[in-house]
């Protein structure tokens, strides 16, 4: 049956085309006439999607509501705006992705008209409702609805309108009769194009350029105004003398002359060049020209590039044209080749000629023409010494890729200007460029690859990656990952087979995220497959959260532990703790020692009681003992509580067969009780002193008997007790008692601590020497008392003892007497200043004498 073109939506750079309701430049979607008369009762429209070369990609029965507008997003998703304001999103292959609503107001008043437009943020949707109000979203990827202000006095639909994007803000420009209004999100302002010819009573069409920089207005008088979109400047005007409203009017970008042209299309006529069209057509503005779609053709209108013009102009004498001739003659083995070459060389234009040929080759669409131009360039290069090869090589590469994607099976007819040479050098971090799908700045290689991937042309994409030698992460692996994501959606294949097939193809390819693929599988409801795929994921940071999401917490735990990332382990643990009952949770921990010790650490700071339970569960009596010891200091205030805690600790230590700790704990309990009693009976502070300090403070407070008793009760070794007393008495400066003490019985520690080498261990006690007494007195700066003990110091300690009390002269005498060289130098090192001058001399003399002997 006859099809009627209702709307067309095109996507620049070769997005899908859609006719019937919509078109895009490289792919077309088409909602076929809903009112087609068929024999059956099928009254539903059919949505069809075609590649730019007309290859059908999808066809599906339209089961949703009436569609007002179709359009392709920057991600090549088809947006179908329904009458009720719901936007349905489809993939290239007619797969339903998602839907969203443009809001209640739109729902109530229905959609009168809608536009899909593109901004640097993504793709936007603008809606004109039945109430003649506008609602728009500048980026459907991150939906934020904006209801535009009311246009005062607007009673009917505007004669034409468009969405504009300026300074990163989306506006609406609309025409009502002879007036133009600009809507931004805050206000509605009337605007007037400068230099507009008089007599206009209404605007029939308006068009903004690809970059939103220029605006064209078509009036009911057949007059066209062209100027900047800011309406600040008029560029030119033109009267075409046609009063029929054009079907379409678009800007045609002209990269060479940097000027713009407006292309106006009527039913069978195209203006600017006065084309006669065979069929009803639809225009799509492009970076460097205009695409013209019709039901059976797809053409591209653009300015002829300089290089091509120079070479192919009739009777051109441009260097490139001559070079091309020369090469042709050369192939014919004609000597004319030489003449042409000479001519170019004489003018010194060979380099330019080669460049021209290379450039012109780029703009050719037919491979045979590309080849002959490149052959000419290559021929010319032979006669140049230093022609840098990269431009030639790069052009060959570019053209191979371009020809590959232009093939009608693929159907992405990119022009050379649209092709991303700009992205060549740096090899870009693709994920960054990928996100910035910059509309104005060329698509990038990654975006081109994405386009291929969307069309499920995985092999070609991989071939291109390999041909361009892209790093695996940005190239092949990424494509394989996409392939795998597609693969997991094939529900007719078993989990095992899918997982195996994916792993076989992907292996350990760097940069493949198995967790992304697994997430996709999980999204399709294939949990088992997801788990299988996650096995191949080396990054635990990715693996674990997904496992948790899929409620495979125990598996997540073991994966987290494998990674060594303790934070990850903690995360799973806390998850498990909430998910399982306490018993199961503890059992799980028991099987994972590393997790258990981490959890213990957590409990130590956060949940002391749980810590105790954990130790109890493991019969870890040693740790339980330590736990109660800590509790006796930290948690208990009252002495009874502390003793009770210590008792529990001691019991635990016994169970742990740690007799020493148990006994020591009991000693401590005994000491605590005793200290309590001492405080009651004697006053003062005893609690929390060590045993040693308790005895000391008893001595200091004059309770020697009690001190003795305590020392006996706790079996303090004699040697330490002597030191203790000695220190305490000196602290008291009780010199009398000290002296008595020194004589009471033989000091087990000596009077001056002897060189330790001479000291055997523990028992028997060392020979007596009063050096410690000397030291202790000197510590209290009591030289007088110290001197008392020097006489009692053994001979081998004497010099040191005398030096200690500062008696250098006598020390010298003793050293000389001993004829001990080491002692002599020791004394000498203590001789300071003039006072000891005589002593020093004495020593030197003694030394000299000793040497004579």
């Amino acid at each position: 049956g006859p099809e009627e073109l209702v709307y067309k939506v095109c996507f620049t750079w070769g997005g899908p085309t859609e006719l019937g309701q919509k078109v895009s430049s490289q792919t077309a979607a088409l909602l076929r006439n809903p009112w087609r008369k068929e024999k059956t009762g099928s009254v539903r429209p059919v949505l069809e999607i075609y590649s730019a070369s007309g290859v059908p990609l999808a066809s599906l029965l339209w089961k949703s509501g009436p569609v007002v507008s179709l359009g392709w997003s920057a991600e090549e998703e088809l947006l179908c705006v329904q009458e009720d304001g719901v936007v349905l999103v489809y993939g290239l292959h007619g797969d339903f992705r998602r839907h969203f609503s443009m809001g209640n107001e739109v729902l109530q008043n229905r959609v009168l008209d809608a536009r899909i437009f593109h901004t640097e943020f993504g793709s936007g949707v603008a809606i004109l409702t039945g109430a003649h109000r506008f609602t728009l979203s500048a980026n459907v990827g991150d939906l934020k609805l904006r209801r535009m202000p009311e246009v005062p006095g607007l009673q009917s639909a505007p004669s034409c309108w468009t969405a504009l994007c300026q300074d990163r803000v989306a506006h609406i420009l609309l025409a009502v009769g002879p007036d133009l209004y600009l809507l931004d999100h805050a206000a509605c302002s009337a605007v007037t194009p400068p230099g507009l010819a008089p007599g206009v009573s209404s605007f029939l069409q308006m068009a903004v350029s690809f970059t939103y920089r220029h605006l064209a207005l078509f009036t009911d008088t057949g007059y066209i105004w062209m100027g900047t979109a800011s309406l600040k400047e008029k560029l030119c005007e033109f009267n075409c003398n046609v009063r029929v409203p054009p079907k379409q009017m678009v800007w045609c970008s002209r990269p060479r002359s940097k000027e713009k042209a407006v292309v106006v299309a009527w039913e069978r006529r195209l203006m600017v060049l006065k084309f006669v069209l065979d069929e009803d057509s639809y225009l799509v503005p492009e970076l460097d020209g205009v695409r013209i779609f019709s039901r059976s053709t797809h053409e591209f209108l653009h300015e002829v590039p300089v290089a091509s013009e120079e070479i192919f102009k009739i009777a051109s004498m441009a260097p490139g044209a001559l070079l091309l001739e020369a090469q042709k003659e050369y192939e014919k083995e004609s000597q004319k080749a030489d003449e042409y070459l000479r001519e170019i060389q004489e003018l010194g234009q060979l380099t330019q000629a080669v460049q021209q040929c290379i450039e012109a080759a780029g703009h050719e669409h037919r491979p045979d023409m590309q080849k002959s131009l490149l052959r000419a360039a290559s021929f010319g290069k032979c006669f140049l010494d230093k022609f840098p090869p990269d431009s030639f090589v790069r052009m060959c590469q570019d053209l191979r890729v371009l020809n590959a994607v232009r093939d009608y099976h693929i159907g992405i007819p990119l022009t050379y200007s649209q092709y991303p040479q700009a992205c060549w050098k740096g090899l870009f971090p693709s994920w960054i460029l990928n996100r910035v799908k910059c509309r104005y700045k060329q698509l990038t290689i990654p975006v081109l690859l994405d386009r291929l991937v969307l069309r499920r042309l995985y092999p070609l994409a991989i071939q291109i990656c390999e041909y361009l030698r892209l790093p695996e992460v940005q190239g092949v692996s990424r494509i394989l990952a996409h392939w795998a994501c597609y693969k997991v959606q094939q529900k007719d294949v078993s989990d095992e087979d899918v997982a195996r097939a994916i792993n076989q193809k992907l292996g350990d390819t760097p940069g493949v995220s198995y967790s992304d693929i697994a997430a996709r599988a999980y999204g399709c409801g294939r949990t088992e497959l997801a788990i299988k795929l996650l096995e191949y994921e080396p990054r635990s940071g990715e693996q674990v959260p997904l496992l948790l999401k899929m409620k495979r917490s125990k598996l997540a735990l073991s994966k987290a532990i494998e990674s060594g990332d303790t934070d990850l382990v903690f995360t799973v643990l806390l998850h498990l703790k909430n998910e399982l009952n306490r018993g199961d949770f503890f059992m799980t921990l028991r099987n994972q020692p590393m997790a258990l010790s981490l959890y213990r650490q957590f409990c130590k700071h956060q949940e002391l009681e749980t810590l105790k339970d954990l130790y109890n569960q493991d019969d870890n009596h040693q740790e339980l003992g330590s736990f109660h010891i800590r509790a006796s200091y930290a948690a208990e205030e009252r002495i009874e509580g502390r003793v009770a805690a210590l008792q529990t600790a001691a019991d635990a230590f016994y169970k742990a067969k740690n007799e020493f700790a148990a006994k020591a704990t009991e000693d401590q309990m005994r000491l605590l009780r005793l200290q309590r009693r001492l405080e009651d009976e004697l006053g003062g502070q005893f609690l929390d002193l060590s045993l040693h300090d308790t005895v000391t403070s008893l001595i200091l407070s004059g309770h020697n008997k009690r001190a003795e008793q305590l020392a006996r009760d706790f079996r303090i070794p004699d040697k330490r007790l002597w030191w203790l007393k000695l220190t305490a008495l000196a602290d008291l400066e009780d010199w009398e008692e000290l002296e008595k003490f020194s004589k009471s019985k033989k000091s087990p520690i000596g009077y001056l601590r002897e060189d330790r080498r001479a000291l055997p261990y523990l028992l028997p006690q060392p020979p007596s020497s009063p050096k410690p007494f000397v030291e202790i007195c000197m510590k209290q700066h009591n030289k007088y008392e110290a001197k008392k003990y020097t006489s009692r110091v053994g001979p081998e300690q004497k010099v040191k003892a005398l030096l200690l009390v500062g008696d250098v002269a006598q020390a010298a005498d003793v050293a000389i007497e001993h004829r001990n060289e080491a002692e002599l130098s020791l004394v000498l090192s203590h001789c300071t200043g003039a006072t000891d001058g005589a002593t020093a001399d004495k020593i030197q003399r003694a030394r000299a004498q000793a040497q004579k002997k």
Binding site: P538, Y633, Y761
Partner: protein, 580 residues
């Protein structure tokens, strides 16, 4: 290695008109990479230390918390945020985790109801902080305790991450060696992480030939002994914190006549110590006994240089002399400082107690009387010398005897508990768990075998012109460094038996390099080994490794990395537990 800094992802723009609230522990390490002045340049207005209750008033829009990912700190932060004055102008909160974001901490903030208050939650992956040209540290104080007492591998994970960053900057290290349980784990994590990063093929020519991962518990002995290098002694006596040392001010007072000694400065003298100071670079790793002669030689050179001015006759000569003046003055200042420090140290090292302690240590290390109760230790306890000193000696004895006889051990423990307080039973238990203090198992003492095979005790030490690493402890050659030395020549195969006695597995892993990155060694070209001490390293060990690097026929240069720069005292302290 300062390029490290650029790897962080801190957006300095957030700092604009901001106040930083510091986790106090981080201020030290951060001082090494970003001075206050740099932060000031980025318009940081105020700096506070993180503590409870309300934040101090500051007229800023942004408050940034710079913290380690610790739960207890989250509680404090939450308290700060919640007690914010609602009537005042609203301020934006940001949180920067060092070295890594933690889900656990964020969960805690969420539980406390403040997570939403933070506009940015970022991490600053400062794993390894450069301390010197050849020295990196994570400055993670609790690393040893976490690894060996609490089986918490967090710091090992960070170490592995740090090593990955290092490899990203300086190339894949083709050969990994290791000894010890933690070393094995770090190596495993690295291999795993490498698989995770397979995408980004490292195309940097490797700087390091080898990586040696060493567990601290393979060599528990070395840190317990008193370090005898200049830097080691400064650290032992005064403690070096993030390359700064605080010294008693008296010796640094400007000497002016007629001052009469009044107006002595009372504030501690703070000095930065690193190899940027020429003189310090020369003496830091020398045995302290060799420092005096260097200082006096330097003094002569400098005064001779100043005397030169009398010889300067022509304008040109005077000009040249003047141009050298700043350098000479700096040298003179540096000399004065180090002479003062050396005097301070000398006061300690010539004391009788220091001598006695050293004698005991050396006896233990050379294997004399390690199986009996030592009377010097007894005396120390009886006189209540600092507990850390006592514990250090007892542990040293235990390690040098492969554990103490039960009777001896119990005696020491009882003495310590009675003298210092019963609560230290927890500390003693920690030391036992870490293997520092233990009963001898099976009655066998392995230490003599280890000592002889690895030549840990050298009787003929030349402190002035050393020929062996044993100079750093005047006789004892640090076990860890000996292992490194033997690995480079003749290889660990020669000491298999000893390696089996030492705890933990020893292993070797290769990380294959693409052919383009494989090194073609020139004859006489040194290998570079990165040696990572898991659980801490002492300055004396660093000195020993630097000594090996400088040996002409050594064949190996070392770069040192560690979880913490430490000494015996700070190490023991980190293992102590005070329940109140």
């Amino acid at each position: 290695m300062a390029a490290h800094l650029s790897y962080g992802r801190v957006n300095l723009n957030v700092l604009r008109e901001a106040a930083i609230v510091w986790d106090e522990y981080l201020t030290g390490p951060f001082g090494l990479i970003a001075q206050y002045s740099l932060l000031k340049e980025h318009e940081v207005e105020k700096m506070f230390t993180l503590k409870g209750s309300r934040l101090p008033a500051a007229d800023v829009k942004n408050i940034i918390f710079l913290v380690r990912p610790r739960l207890e700190l989250m509680d404090i932060i939450a308290e700060n945020v919640l007690s914010e004055d609602r009537r005042g102008p609203a301020r934006d909160f940001h949180i920067l985790f060092v070295p890594r974001r933690s889900l656990l901490c964020e969960q805690r903030l969420k539980d406390l109801g403040v997570l939403g208050s933070f506009i940015h939650r970022e991490e600053y992956s400062l794993d390894l902080i450069p301390f010197d040209g050849d020295l990196l540290s994570m400055e993670s104080e609790g690393a040893f305790k976490e690894c060996y007492l609490e089986s918490d591998q967090t710091s090992l994970y960070h170490a592995a991450k740090g090593l990955m960053t290092l490899q990203a900057l300086y190339g894949t290290i083709p050969q990994i060696y290791g000894k010890g349980e933690c070393a094995r784990q770090v190596a495993n994590m690295m291999i795993r992480m490498k698989r995770e990063f397979t995408g980004s093929q490292n195309s940097i020519f490797p700087v390091f030939d080898n990586l040696l991962l060493l567990d601290r518990n393979v060599d528990l002995l070395t840190p317990l002994a008193t370090q005898l290098t200049y830097e080691g002694l400064i650290d032992e006596i005064y403690g070096i914190q993030n390359s700064y040392v605080k010294l008693p001010p008296e010796k640094f007072a400007p000497k002016k006549q007629g001052d009469g000694g009044k107006d002595l400065p009372t504030e501690a003298k703070k000095l930065q110590l690193n190899s940027a100071e020429e003189l310090y670079a020369e003496i830091r790793d020398k045995n302290f006994n060799a420092v005096g002669s260097v200082l006096s030689k330097k003094a002569k050179v400098i005064s001779a240089a100043f005397e030169e001015r009398h010889n300067a006759k022509t304008v040109g000569e005077i000009k040249q002399f003047v141009s050298q003046l700043p350098h000479m003055q700096a040298a003179r200042g540096s000399l004065a400082n180090h002479t003062s420090i050396a005097e301070l140290i000398k006061d300690v090292t010539t004391s009788e107690d220091f001598f006695d302690k050293l004698t005991v240590e050396q006896e233990f290390m050379s294997g004399i009387d390690t199986d009996k109760v030592n009377s010097y230790i007894e005396d120390c306890i009886a006189q209540k010398h600092p507990l850390i000193k006592v514990l250090r000696l007892v542990c040293l004895q235990s390690v040098c005897n492969s554990g103490l006889k039960q009777k001896v051990l119990d005696y020491y423990k009882r003495e310590i508990l009675q003298t210092y307080g019963y609560e230290h039973i927890l500390t003693l238990y920690n030391l036992e768990k870490a293997g520092l203090l233990k009963p001898q198992m099976g009655g066998r003492n392995n230490y003599p075998t280890i000592r002889k095979t690895l030549r840990l005790w050298m009787d003929d030490v030349n402190e002035q012109n050393p020929t062996d690493i044993s100079y750093v402890y005047s006789g004892y050659a640090p076990l860890s460094v000996r292992l490194a030395q033997l690995l480079s020549r003749p290889g660990w195969r020669s000491i298999e038996e000893v390696l089996r006695i030492l705890p933990g597995p020893h292993f070797e892993e290769r990380q294959p390099l693409p052919t383009g990155l494989q090194k073609k060694r020139q004859p006489g070209e040194n290998r570079v080994t990165l040696i990572f001490f898991l659980g801490g390293v002492t300055f004396a060990e660093i000195a020993a490794l630097r000594f090996l690097s400088q040996l002409e026929d050594g064949g190996t240069e070392y770069v040192i990395a560690t979880t913490k720069l430490m000494n015996g005292a700070s190490w023991i302290e980190s293992l102590m537990e005070k329940p109140f």
